[in-house]
Symmetry: C2
Amino acid sequence: MAMEHVLHMKGGVGETSYANNSSLQRKVIMEVKTLLEENMVSMMSNKSVKGCWKIADLGCSSGPNTLLCISNIMNIIHKINTKLNNGKSIFQIYLNDLFENDFSTIFKLLPDFYQLEKEKNDAECFINVTPGNFYGRLFPNNYIDFFHSSYCLHWLSQAPKILVKNGEPLNKGNIYLSKTSPPSVYEAYFKQFERDFQYFLKLRFKELALDGTMALTFIGTESHDKIISVQGVLGMVLNEMVQEGLVEENKLDMFNFPTYHPTEEEVRQVIEREGSFTLQIIKTFKMEWDANLQKDNVNYVVDRKMRGEFISKYHRAVFEPLLIAAFGENIMDVLFSRFAKLLTQLIEFETLEYTNIVLFLTKDS
Amino acid sequence: MAMEHVLHMKGGVGETSYANNSSLQRKVIMEVKTLLEENMVSMMSNKSVKGCWKIADLGCSSGPNTLLCISNIMNIIHKINTKLNNGKSIFQIYLNDLFENDFSTIFKLLPDFYQLEKEKNDAECFINVTPGNFYGRLFPNNYIDFFHSSYCLHWLSQAPKILVKNGEPLNKGNIYLSKTSPPSVYEAYFKQFERDFQYFLKLRFKELALDGTMALTFIGTESHDKIISVQGVLGMVLNEMVQEGLVEENKLDMFNFPTYHPTEEEVRQVIEREGSFTLQIIKTFKMEWDANLQKDNVNYVVDRKMRGEFISKYHRAVFEPLLIAAFGENIMDVLFSRFAKLLTQLIEFETLEYTNIVLFLTKDS
């Protein structure tokens, strides 16, 4: 099955939906908001927009985060626009995600969103949806003034082709890069990321208007050999389930997680080699896997078990459709309950955190 | 409940869905295609589009008709564009319908649609969705080059407020205009249509680019006193069900169908009074309520029972969400099976046909 049919957050607004399990992504959006506020003014000083700002959010997913993101961006640009005496701010928003994304949950939130925005700013906004794969063209040339993407570009267009040696897959027993992966596996992953990210940059350069800006946030890593990853922990659980006969060994061997967490240096390298954009800012910030649980529960004692379960639950909302396609629906409950348990143990002696990379790129005139 | 929450075609792709019961609407689209082919060239001779044609389909509904419509329009404009040596045709398509419309059925058809379009023409197209009520703003000023709307504008923004006299509603026993309705009921309906259609024209005039064109098709009528309407027949069935205690009389009295089928003269009148647009063409064509059944079944003997059931079934896909909100879900099966039965009887001695009105309007420079 093609990646774009299985890669989507869990739809709806139920207990296990992405809409209800995306508070970490919300925290990331709010961190990036501060960076946007600090840096957009200077990057936009050359920008002249006649009539209407065209803003696209790539990989918008579904639920309240989608609109939070857009609202933040409109507020910031509205302030800049007012300062520059450009007249009334008018926005055309394009929310993009894959064809199978649950857009209808967003549509149901729109009437209230329009009402709120109307009360807040003297600005007009027109919201559109552009379904499709961002590793392909989405807009005409020189069209979008501001591209935004949060927590998407660590997803590859497809899993890398991992080599097989003497009938054994080189990354046997793993579903992602791990400490035991040979260099050729790392290479296959990096090549896939490089190809995808370069292609993404080429496409967006065509679609971005002159003096346009692109703000991208995704999960990176400090280094490839020390860091423990969510995919690594999931791999351990799946391995254990293979040993117990709950998962077919062949399925585990064939599955490679279609994500890559690059280092800051790798990102710089790809941008420079591709050559279209000016890299204005690159920053990293760390965030514990359960950063938002602690904040949400400031008055409660949060024990390790709660933390493990929390991390497991929100990752399930992100990964489940993909894992169902690879391993079948019936092992999901066991997989994620064991995942929670293993996390509970790991929390004791490992620092479980994401390294987030934020980029500001401009298409200079 | 607000109209826009209950007014949508029946979603999904099941046996009773709109996607599977819209062959009459398809026939209308194909009739209008011929008119578009005959008239677009002359209307577009002044039109200069730099880069990208922006086309909006208002009330696009859901299912294969949505994309058929868009495909027809792109083919016609592509031919004109090639003739005028305007270079490669590039289209940005905006599919509009209410927030509750089943857009996800369209999204699932898009990958194949893109593939087919790619093979057919040397043209590029980018498809977007713009959810919202077309009795409100949807696009920035001077933005859209071509507006299209098929089988939507007979829907009012709300049912007219029908007067009550001595505690009795003036349109008692009816759910729409009927032979027994007093003039004040006709007036209330016409006023609502006039207000809505005028407002629609004002909004679209702002959004249409200079030398842009608007092609509108909707259900009209030859006259208000002779013609039998679908709503009228449904009203008879509901009346019968009130007599038998299956429907509360109060519910029938309170319900007024939020549609209006204007005469050609009324349409001309509203356009002239509103004054923004140049009416280039106005045409009417008739179509039997089961026009498409006869065509689909050219080798079979089609009896009256089949015809009645066919008409009932596809109207159910259109009206059911609205009627459920008014009368509850549990009477739907009985309502539509009696509707089919009554249609079977009426077919014998009445001409059951729609009068379709097609308009071409331009915003002249």
